[in-house]
Symmetry: C2
Subunit: 342 residues, 2 copies
DNA sequence: TCCTTTTATGGGAGCGCTCCCACGCAATAT
DNA sequence: ATATTGCGTGGGAGCGCTCCCATAAAAGGA
């Protein structure tokens, strides 16, 4: 059996209360006693029992990261790897323990989620892959556990962290207009996600600033997959765009393939700009110009926000992270190319 | 404030003890009372307080998954994604909660690990990325927490799950010999990992069965990276192998690039067999023949083993999972090609 | 019929901790 | 000198639960 605070106190010749004060860094402990207790702790390798501590304090030091359904597909996405790394790193820094909830389907979600939230086991929750009308979100507001969403939810009154999808897409528009393109096309991400919607609106608004219109035949809907990008690009080609903004790099990979097959040169015949910037520049030929979103930072920030909510700050708090234009080869802006570090 | 067992009892007109019996499925509860209590629980959405439960029972229902250092590099590897999915799925099935420990460096590891293990917070631990002389392993044996390693550790007396690296590499040898190759080469994975070592030994032994030798100039050392495979292949080319077994698909991607650049045709001029089988067949040209290891299953099994250890079964338990030869284009065995499902 | 066994239930104890209050003693103020 | 403050410390209470034991009621055996 492992040691208790009582034991530590006894070994140091003090009461469990005093030992507790030392551990929790409370005042009113004489330097002498403090040293003695610390020595005993060091020597014995004592660690307070987490369950007992949490039972009385109402805090567990544990946060949850929820990645709901479709995990099969989603997890291949480097976005989640980065996000998890960010969340994990921030949790480590703050002495928080991270629990991971990967729900394979709605049934699993419905079965496990209530227990997780109600058991008092978690101090707070980070929920990713925000969906429109997220069923979790509805449930969540009933409970009193602090929540931070990753990605803008369609409901308000929830704290969230998100990349500046709108602003990033505007940058894409500005960039393509600035390069002198006239027939600018768009491959949309699904607009049943707020990310897809924001990128669409941002791009259209960005073009509007320069009085450039986006005719319907230069707009195609993609599916967040490589194949989706491939098909959308084939569809657009008939209308001879001189440039295209593709709302995700994964789709851009498919689109580039479609272009290569059609014998259309990039960037000579068509300029291509993607969105995400999570894969290495070597992943495509030519190297893809894209808007890089800070996935790991998103994870870190979500933990920071959550920490604030847990310690009583009242929400909702919103944190929008900047997105960078990473100029590589596919947009043809080599003259003004910015060296990138990766 | 949330409900307690006491409240449930009161609402159902029984004592907290009886309510507890219902929840834990103990005998000696009249059907009538049981129904009443269940109804109250259903109606109120009551969930037992995890901390209190764990304090008295000594069980938390929480297991930890440790992925030590080098996470930056490792996490890009689809292996970890699959493994985590397997672990998570099995944990969900068994009503276990999964905590994830991603240690970015040894300092973080040293700082966090003891607390994790000693706090009584975890019922057991799954440790991945087994290293030779794993520093965690040394510490672990001092503690009394059940452990399962993923990947064969170099120390004995620890339970572990591993893919049959040795057997898989033997299959590779058999396959290449069977295709009539004479100058068979090898690109090794780093032999400071047991996986690298086992694949090396398995391949050499597999060749030995057919009295085929592996001369030193047909052996090159890789680094588990694409670049490592690229360089190793360039080195081998001077010695004109007619086939090569590359101990990881990542290295194989680099090797294929080296071959393409050198104008060596695959599989006409050289047959190539990889190892891992975690990326889609479209990832390389030509599609790579490889040995597929069951990464998700490895995760599931590690949870199952751990569950057995937690419930008192004494270890060490060892589970070696089979590895499948997936024949695609790069080995030239199209005549006997097996249709694969992906 | 009475006595023994079984079944159903309630209450006490205690898991290891943190918080609060009370107490003793030294330092300061009157 | 005594009264007042403060600090350092110990012990009680209690967080919500499970386990054990005691007890009451029901069922069985003689």
């Amino acid at each position: 059996m492992s040691l208790t605070l009582q034991d530590i106190g006894r070994l140091a010749g003090v009461s469990r209360s005093t030992a507790s004060r030392v551990i929790n860094g409370h005042a009113s402990v004489s330097p002498d006693v403090r040293r003695r207790v610390e020595e005993v702790i060091e020597r014995t390798g004592y660690t307070p029992n987490a369950a007992a501590r949490s039972l009385v304090s109402g805090r567990s030091g544990v946060i949850g990261l929820v990645i709901p359904n479709n995990v099969h597909a989603l997890f291949e996405d480097p976005y989640y790897s980065r996000l998890i790394q960010g969340v994990s790193g921030a949790a480590n820094d703050s002495d928080l323990t991270l629990t991971l909830f990967l729900f394979q389907n709605e049934a699993e979600e419905a079965k496990l989620y209530p227990r997780v939230v109600t058991s008092g086991f978690l101090d707070g929750l980070i929920i990713t892959a925000t969906r429109m009308n997220d069923p979790l979100l509805a449930r969540v507001s009933d409970d009193d556990i602090p929540i931070v969403m990753v990605g803008r939810p369609d409901t308000s009154s929830v704290s969230y962290v998100d990349a500046d999808n709108h602003g990033g897409a505007m940058q894409a528009a500005t960039h393509l207009v600035g390069l002198g393109h006239k027939r600018i096309a768009l491959i949309e991400a699904p607009v049943n996600t707020t990310a897809g919607l924001d990128r669409l609106n941002g791009f259209v608004e960005g073009l509007a600033v320069y009085d450039v219109a986006l005719p319907p035949n230069l707009r195609a809907k993609g599916k967040f997959t490589e194949l989706g990008g491939y098909e959308a690009m084939q569809q657009l080609l008939a209308h001879r765009p001189d440039s295209v903004f593709i709302a995700s790099d994964t789709m851009a990979v498919g689109a580039l393939r479609a272009l290569a097959e059609a014998g259309v040169r990039v960037p000579e015949d068509i300029a291509v700009v993607g969105f995400d910037g999570l894969t290495p520049s070597t992943a495509t030929t030519p190297a893809l110009t894209t808007l890089r979103q800070p996935a790991a930072l998103t994870g870190r920030r979500s933990v920071e926000l959550l920490t604030r909510l847990v310690s009583g700050e009242d929400g909702p708090v919103i944190d929008i992270l900047p997105v960078d234009l990473v100029i590589r080869e596919s947009c043809g802006a080599t003259a003004t190319a910015i060296r990138e570090s990766v």
